[in-house]
Symmetry: D2
Subunit: 432 residues, 4 copies
């Protein structure tokens, strides 16, 4: 241990944790180890046993992992009779003791088991990976669903927003982190280090990620931002290899053009909304003259939806997209924009929008601001949305009200521009 | 040469969090805010509402705080009937859905409420302080015990050993942390900065503390260590203003002479055992030639115990201690050592040792190694133990077995020296 | 959010340098070591030899140090004949070779010797201390003056302003640095850690220091600043134990109330002007609403000057000050202010102001803004200036012109207030 | 300014320096600015003027730069007559004053001018670049040689080994630094980020660089190290894309296989020897079981030398190399090894080895340990040395004596293996 930079040492402490090696030559079976960890009366040997179990786990084959999951799902389940007894007791006489009894009975032992596993250095990441394994077998083994719910419960507590840290990712960031940004980018693939550099180095580009102190070398989620003059109509122009960075003083709009979750094992624990809000705060502080915060988002479900529609326009769009006929698509810009707006506003799954990205941003309190044709002419963009993209607007003054309306009544807020577009389209539709 | 560094920024991120100011001019009542936080359908406005509630809370008077606690204890309690229904349903058909129902019913809403409060920047420390307030009224308001149990439950999860970071405290540590070490020292008071310097600066002294990443400016627990040649027989000589530091090469023994919990609001969440074990590891790595790890511990219950004893020796000791007659006590060294050993080994509360410090170290797997007369001749030392102290030995090869024996069978391990002392004493007792 | 972090390691590298231990058992004499260092043909063994010499030096007694200085002063002096030959050669044929010859001849070997000493880790601080020793004997040994000039020459180059780093000193600063701030405060002594805390912790107080990367644990110079509403008339009220900090929003004036050089061994290398200017920039960036940057400075030469004056007022002031009669001094406020202003403006040493603090600030481009009576009523304040202090104003728009006028023509700029004070005084003087 | 991690802030301070923008709208000519900087009586306006000059300089075209260099070379040269007068005065009466006069006269004003330029934030790097420009015109303008000598003189002082910091470069290093490692690698080109990763990430690889605190984002020199079992006979196998890293416990040899200077503008200021020695220390501390420290070095002059030789073997080697006939070269391994050893030991420039890499390592105190045929079969390796490489051995016990012998008497130390090789070769030569 060095002696300087007190607080950075704290982080060093977080990082210096020994990686998992082989278990320390114990002869005990995994079952026996699990039993020992769970029955242990305190902290004493927990750390070592936890480490041994996690090391063992990494060496298991698929069948053995399933058995391990079953041990937790069934062998460490709640005893419903005990719960009923304890609930009755607490109902009759609500004291500290009876409450302790209920809490004890109602929490399955596997929760405490997982918490104790987490004592081992580096365990948090291992547990996230363990749940990823669990997700892989969950479909075929629905009896493991309760175990998965407990993972979610614990991860929600551990990855509480209050524990997360926002960091800017830039060209001064260590290569081992950047490497993961390349790997985890899920929206517009980063081809290589030069591509990454184009997204990080120019002064009109930003990238931010959330980290958790117990997993410092693993970003949880990150967002890429372009600072622009107005809302750009194409992601290809945003990412062009040759372009002149915009002087910061001219930027008035922050465009969130990619947001990627990094840890599949944390599926169901959502960070995106917090990230966007904190990045907006961060940017407003750094660049007070920014006045719009919008996305440039894919419309992943558009083509699937159009394929199910009747009418001339949808079919024509679908044909052109299928043929990859960019020229023809370009000519159909107005129809595509109308079809996209209609899809986003009117296509539903139950009462909620059909499009998953729409659900995410509208749920965050954004509104549907503008649709763009020819905005993503990559193969994937043509395939999923005939090249259309959409900008959701985060209007800070209205974001909470929007969110409230969406959350309670599935109310979707749209801009005047979108309203006009839809009305004109409807009028034309009637005319024809 | 360290290698991690991007990461020190992460800590900066943890520290840069804005402190609590006034709530942002909301007109809502605290109740309405609490309701809003709890009913909120996600992360959206949680952070701001949480911040407002915590700010409001700080301004409450005693009566209002009580009302706030009651709101949580009663207004956010479990519905036992719902628990019973859900437990029955899960008992009959254990599916993901029925398990989710049970988990939902069995967890009181206040747990989620507290987790959401924790989203606010700096909230963790505020919640620790809130529980300290709760502890202050718990005795008179036993109906709040379930709330306290939920605090403990959440803190155990958040302050999981896997999230803690060990840091050395020394003369390069920032003053704001050192100031807290002075304030929190609970065993041998630190009189001023010079006294502190004597415990941190010499090369034969060490101090280590645990920190949590969400409360970086607040140590959780710390231990002070003296590196010695052999086991010292007096804490006053350890802390003497004028003494020559021992060259490190001559040290063979690490003496843990003070261990202090810092956060009263975390009462019931134990860190001491983990701390001692990790410090032992740390010291062994730095100084491989150390061969003993012992404490120099107070015996806080000795005089109270002797006062209840019959027999000449106990009474004589008690009289001399009461009179503060250090000379006489010095002369009675052998009797005091015998009385102390007898007390530590034989005085019980139920099946466990009566002395709380003994319970702590024996529970950690230490053994009773040696008793010292005239080892703490401060007023407090005379008053509580007639100047006697005890060294518990952490013998790494035996610490798990000792712990196991103590945890399962209250077995207390003692050294040969103590055994001989007690046998000789017994023989003499019989003779007279 | 900072972005640089790899680099904090670099600083760790600067700090991790091994301190000086005993020389590595070499049998060579110091003279032989010096010869070896100087004759060494490169970097090869320089570091070790340099380390040995510096270790040896620390063990020398006064006489041996004098001999060592003489070795450098006389044994490593320039050969003036060689200089003349080389200058003639270069004068005749100014080529690279002849210039190299001149440069070689004109630089005394001791400069290279000192540069080579500086290769040892930690050497820079040792050389600063060595010069301090030299300063101690310089008066009695004027033949060492050339050596001292070479120290100054090298220090000017090494401590070039471009290499210095400004750091804020506050309550998060490591104790080992704060301890030095207490020790080095030269204007208004810091009594203890509580006093220090009062100067660092309140939000209306600031402290800044310059550091050099090769001496990271040693501040070079620091300034203490109070943020005030208007210019305070008393340093005692500034430093009062009980006072309510001013909310930052109300502050309009930054008062530099103490500036202390830390390294006596760097005498003659001036940092004060750079420090003040950089702190002004720093404060303006943090607090754009500040509109005045003034000092609250002692007038160390006032009483000495008055003692040499004739006239009733000076004598009366001198008597009261000598008697420590604070009441009487209070009554004489107007006369004291007049006397102080007169002294500052009119008392000269040659063409420059007699008062050394005045020379410093006027040389920096400040102007004489206001004089205060009863502003420092400590014993020292009464003794040196009958309690009077002065505020110099750093008016950024005029600071360069002021400096230029002072540097070229000893022009002293004063405020209207001072002008009026002096005119009124003159008028009154004539009247009486 | 943040408040945490005191020392890392110091570095932040070093990094936060504003980059050069346009000069602040001054109308003064560059000449006038230079005059102002030089005549300035102190620190007052130096920083701003220096900044303006450096900004202007960056905008100059080739002719203007030449004029600027001439201004320094001729307009700020020493006055030899003044030097002679001052030297005579000091020779007659060696006092502080006369010495000051000599020092003043003998130092050309351009040195002070360059020191003052260095006050501007970021200036050090600008001055290094300025000298690079100077080097570019020096050959055609020998009258600028004195100016170049002054650059060297100042850089030697500023880049004193005592001010340099060694840092490990690894996969946690920020991308902006790694990018420069790729760019500056001068021996075995790094093709892309994957290639870089192969040299940094495996546990049996190391890379270290020197940095200067005033140029933290610019490495000065770096060395790449492979930890091996024995001395590898081929750099291609060292750098192979697919290879299994050696477990650290098996490594016994550290192989320095590439050392690259980064700053052409610092030509003539040598860092390589210090770097190698400090890296050896570093590695010995981390891995005490390493017992050999060798290089795997190119023999850049071998083919040029052989081309000038008569005899069958040299010609055959030269023909095969020229034809790039790797098969034939492989068959000629023994002859190539003999020719390489003979070249390294016997080919001279004056009394020193002809090969520049040999001069570097032998000058550092290494010895010629082993020659390898077929060790660098890249096109470049074939072209310059017919694929041969050499290992110099840094035998710590002998390195100073070796250095001494080389420095004073051009004595070249060789291993037994080389001796035997040469003797056998000589014997065979005689036979034939």
């Amino acid at each position: 241990m060095g002696r300087f930079s007190f607080f950075s040492e704290i982080v060093t402490g977080l990082l210096e944790r020994t990686p998992f090696g082989a278990p320390e030559g114990t002869d005990q079976t995994l079952d026996a180890l699990c039993h020992a960890l769970l029955s242990g009366r305190g902290e004493i040997s927990g750390k070592r046993v936890a480490q041994d179990i996690l090391s063992r786990y990494k060496g298991l084959d698929a069948g053995e992992r399933l058995a391990f999951f079953r041990l937790m799902a069934q062998g460490m389940d709640v005893d419903t009779k005990a719960v009923i007894r304890a609930a009755e007791a607490y109902g009759k006489a609500p004291t500290g003791a009876s409450y302790a009894g209920l809490a004890d009975a109602a929490e399955p032992p596997r929760q405490e088991f997982l918490r104790r596993l987490n004592q081992a250095p580096g365990a948090t990441l291992e547990l996230v990976r363990m749940r990823l394994d669990l997700l892989g077998v969950l479909h075929d083994h629905p009896e493991l669903a309760p175990l998965d719910l407990d993972f979610i419960h614990l991860f929600r507590s551990w990855f509480n927003r209050g524990f997360l840290v926002l960091r800017r990712i830039d060209w001064h960031t260590p290569a081992n982190i950047l490497e993961k940004i390349i790997a985890y980018e899920a929206v517009h693939a980063i081809n290589d280090w030069s591509d990454l550099q184009r997204r990080l180095l120019p002064e009109d580009r930003r990238c931010f990620a959330f980290f958790h102190p117990a997993m410092l070398e693993e970003p949880l989620i990150f967002v890429e931002v372009a600072l622009c003059k107005g809302i750009p109509g194409s992601v290809q122009s945003l990412l062009a290899e040759t372009r002149t960075p915009l002087p910061l003083a001219q930027a008035d709009t922050a465009v969130f053009y990619s947001i990627s979750n990094c840890q599949e094992g944390l599926r169901g624990i959502s960070f995106g909304n917090s990230l966007i809000k904190q990045v907006v705060e961060e940017l407003r502080q750094e660049l007070p003259h920014l006045d719009s915060f919008v996305t440039l988002s894919p419309i992943p479900g558009l083509m699937r939806h159009l394929a199910s529609q009747e009418g001339e326009a949808p079919r024509a769009i679908a044909r052109a997209a299928k043929a990859g006929d960019r020229k023809r698509l370009e000519a159909m810009g107005p129809q595509i924009r109308l079809a996209a707006a209609d899809y986003l506003v009117n296509a539903k799954r139950g009462a909620a929008p059909l499009d998953p990205v729409a659900r995410f941003h509208l749920g965050n309190g954004a509104l549907i601001h503008r649709v763009h044709a020819g905005a993503d002419i990559s193969d994937n963009g043509i395939r999923q949305s005939a090249g259309a993209m959409v900008s959701y607007l985060y209007d800070l003054a209205r974001v909470e009200a929007n969110h409230e309306g969406f959350a309670t009544a599935n109310r979707v807020v749209i801009s005047k521009e979108i309203k006009t577009l839809l009305q004109t389209g409807a009028a034309q539709g009637k005319q024809t």
